[in-house]
């Protein structure tokens, strides 16, 4: 493969040149955008703004590098180490700014401290490129100045044999079995599919569930059995895929224990509220429910089903945390048949309950399904 080199450019901290002064202004603005990005507001617009600002910063640094810059060149190894750090410590500390391409004078010190700490924790501190970067940034931090990272891709690489992987590849666990599921009721078949996915997962094979075409009442009914029914099973995360070829976050199973009797008794003291899952789908629910969990306009946009699932999940996490702060509720949830919204909601519920199981009971969700011309209650989640 070809190589990428990363050039660290140190520029003086003082605004001695007109370009420098523009550079500092741009860095300040870009840092402001980073704060907005972290909040997740107007993501698309802010990302574009961030891109343009960084591009300008890098372009100015490129022009000044030869004139007044101190340089240090890093190799491909730095980018690989950075990827590992970002994966493990993305939300470590906002001031760490892992993966940024510029560091204003007041950001260098904090960044290099955090970078060195993270590298140490992941056992990457001994890598030559990581060492070089830390040394360079520490020098800048003590002498003052700003740092901009520039990349030069497509550099001459070594012709590297990627090895003979065929033998290891054929040993990878992939099912060579064929499926034969019984002719039971729909609920039995759904149950059987979840059980098969769990079995596959236990054998180290891919275990996934596809609820794209599953009746909406069956999703919570069957999932609930597997979330609460540990029976000696270790918690397991089952992949969720959708019929448009997208994959969402995995769904946790066997991770909750049924509530103790004493805790169950306390649930009835929580205020009751009727909630519709998705607005503008069944107007007859408008007079029945206090509010809708999701706004149809936000959920039913044209996008990959996994993205919708993720949005439903994130919104549900936020709302559940708010309800918990308010002291908790007993919710009757009037469901609609939109699988990504249903799966996203229940995943958020399970995650929030499992994150702090001792704080239960603070919520009870009883699904209500429209079956045979009337609303039927399912088993409660709490």
């Amino acid at each position: 493969m070809s190589k990428t080199s990363v050039l660290l450019v140190r520029l003086p901290g003082e605004a001695t040149l007109a370009e420098n002064s523009e550079l500092f202004g741009l860095m300040k603005e870009a840092t402001g955008v980073e704060v907005k990005l972290a909040k997740g507001a107007n993501l698309e617009q802010e990302r574009t703004r961030y891109w343009l600002l960084c591009e300008r910063i890098e372009s100015i640094a490129q022009n000044l590098a030869g004139l007044q810059g101190q340089l240090e060149e890093l190799g491909e190894e730095y980018l690989r180490a950075l990827a590992l750090m970002v994966e493990a410590f993305a939300s470590y500390s906002p001031s760490l700014r892992l993966g940024a391409t510029y560091y204003a004078a007041d950001q260098v010190q904090e960044h290099v401290r955090g970078f060195a700490e993270v590298a140490q924790k992941l056992g990457l501190a001994g890598l030559p490129d990581v060492k070089k970067r830390i040394r360079f940034l520490r020098k800048v931090a003590s002498e003052g100045g700003v740092v901009v990272e520039l990349q030069n891709p497509y550099r001459l690489g070594a012709v590297k044999e990627s090895g003979k992987w065929g033998e290891k590849f054929v040993k990878l666990p992939v099912s060579d079995q064929i499926t034969s599921v019984g002719n039971g009721s729909l609920v039995d078949q759904t149950r059987e599919l979840v059980a098969l996915a769990v079995e596959s997962k236990k054998k180290g094979l891919s275990g996934h569930l596809n609820f794209s075409n599953t009746r909406n009442d069956l999703i919570p009914q069957v999932l609930r059995e597997f979330v609460y029914g540990a029976n000696g099973n270790d918690p397991v995360q089952i992949e969720i895929v959708y019929s448009d070829g997208s994959e969402a976050r995995p769904f946790p199973l066997f991770c909750l224990r049924p509530l103790a009797e004493e805790a169950k008794a306390r649930i009835v003291t929580l205020p009751e509220v009727k909630v519709g899952l998705l607005s503008a789908r069944h107007p007859e629910l408008d007079s029945l429910v206090a509010f809708y969990w999701f706004r149809n306009q936000e959920i039913s946009e044209t996008r990959a089903m996994a993205q919708t699932d993720e949005i439903a999940y994130e919104k549900s996490v936020q709302l559940l945390r708010r309800l918990k702060k308010e002291g908790g509720y007993r919710i009757s949830l009037y469901q609609t048949g939109f699988p990504p919204a249903v799966v996203g909601f229940y995943r958020a519920l399970v995650d929030e309950l499992a994150a702090d199981p001792d704080s239960r009971p603070w919520i009870e969700v009883t699904p209500c399904f429209f079956l045979g011309g009337e609303y039927v209650q399912g088993a409660p989640w709490c």
Binding site: S2, L79, Q151, L156, I178, V181, N210, D244, E247
Partner: protein, 384 residues
């Protein structure tokens, strides 16, 4: 030669088409995955295959109720079966199924079709559940990989990524057939970039600028290379008044990728017109090779890194040899044209000095970035 099941399957296909029409088309509706959908695969006026599929939600697999393939002599052997099988595998992946395929009783009495068996054997894949009418997930994975047609080096890389649990081969195959990345683009990504799995999974977010930028730079280069693929393949027929472009009428050449130089190599099977060069018309004869070093750089980057590119080009020429059948080029995006005149002239002169021609694609790096960013975003949600 039609099989004994041909008439029966054709009748079944027509039934499905009528049902599809009355159930969905006439009402302007789209069927759910678990409803039967008939497909016809054609190139110009030749039908290469018919298939009717649905997602079997009971067993979580793809159910095939009609599978008819043709092998017209005008096309390479197994063309029809290949197209139908690729479509079935993509459908199985897209539906979220575990890549298992089941043929119903209506398909050659519930057996794996003979044409599929022949194709699998031709490709070196053993099918072990022929009588049960099933293709297992493991067999489907193997078929998907060989049908996608990766080069030996790319296959090795793909297997390495699978063994290291970074990317599943099914996903990469699906992305190629789904058009997220075309095969030559995917090969450039697999072999040319330091962390191909990041591009394939669309892992990086724009806010982690250093990683996102790196992914985007290699995605941009893959796209620039593929602009050249398409330009070389385009054959325009007709006269001065009317230009005709026909489906399946591409110029014949082989494409390979040299990861060390990040260069694309085109082996001409018929004379190829070299595009985007200053000379009016230059043809590479059959048997000749175009070696194009791809550098998807912006204006500022071209100027800054040209010396580096020049040195690499010189090494590339040494490595390939100056034989007369080799034609060397350095491919830049249109950004090159925005350089000051004296810089352009100096770059052109330096390249010519070592026997490399500048080749300037009419696309700007900025436009390639927009396309690359969309593909990275699309990749982010495709099933793993």
């Amino acid at each position: 030669m039609p099989t004994p099941y041909f008439e029966q399957a054709l009748g079944r296909f027509e039934e499905h088409v009528r049902e599809f029409d009355s159930k969905y088309l006439s009402k302007g509706e789209i069927p759910k995955d678990y409803g039967f959908r008939p497909y016809r695969f054609c190139v110009r006026d030749a039908v290469l295959g018919l298939a009717v599929v649905k997602y079997g939600r009971r067993e979580d697999l793809l159910v095939v109720d009609v599978c008819l393939t043709a092998d017209p002599p005008q096309f390479p052997p197994h063309s029809g079966t290949k197209i139908v099988m690729i479509s079935l595998l993509c459908e199985a992946f897209k539906c979220g199924a575990k890549l298992e395929i089941k043929f119903t009783e209506n398909v050659e009495g519930g057996r794996v079709p003979f044409a599929v068996y022949k194709l699998a054997r031709h490709l070196g894949v053993t099918l072990s559940h022929i009588d049960e009418g099933h293709i297992s997930p493991a067999e489907a994975r193997q078929l998907f990989m060989v049908l996608t047609g990766f080069s030996a080096a790319s296959s090795q890389k793909l297997m390495q990524l699978a063994v290291e649990e970074k990317v599943s081969p099914e996903r990469v195959c699906f992305m190629v057939h789904n058009g997220v990345w075309e095969l030559p683009e995917m090969e450039s990504i697999l072999l040319g970039s330091g962390q191909p799995e990041r591009i394939i999974l669309g892992t990086s977010l724009p806010e982690v600028r250093a990683l996102y930028l790196n992914d985007l730079l290699f995605a941009r280069a893959a796209l620039l290379g593929s602009f050249l693929d398409r330009k070389l393949a385009r054959r325009e027929r007709g006269d001065e008044e009317q230009v005709l472009e026909l489906e399946g009428d591409a110029r014949r050449f082989g494409i390979s990728f040299d990861p060390a130089f990040y260069a694309k190599i085109y082996s001409a099977e018929e004379p190829l017109l070299v595009p985007w060069i200053e000379e009016d018309e230059s043809w590479v004869p059959a048997g000749g090779r175009i070696v194009a070093m791809v550098r998807a750089r912006t204006v500022a980057d071209i100027e800054l890194h040209f010396e580096d590119d020049l040195a690499t080009a010189a090494k590339m020429m040494e490595s390939y040899g100056r034989q007369k059948e080799n034609f060397f080029y350095l491919l830049y995006p249109r950004d090159f044209r925005d350089l000051p005149q004296d810089v352009k002239e100096s770059i052109t002169e330096s390249l010519r000095g070592i026997g490399v021609g500048p080749m300037i694609c009419p696309e700007m790096a900025e436009k390639l970035d927009v396309d690359a960013a969309k593909r990275l975003e699309k990749a982010r949600v495709i099933r793993r």
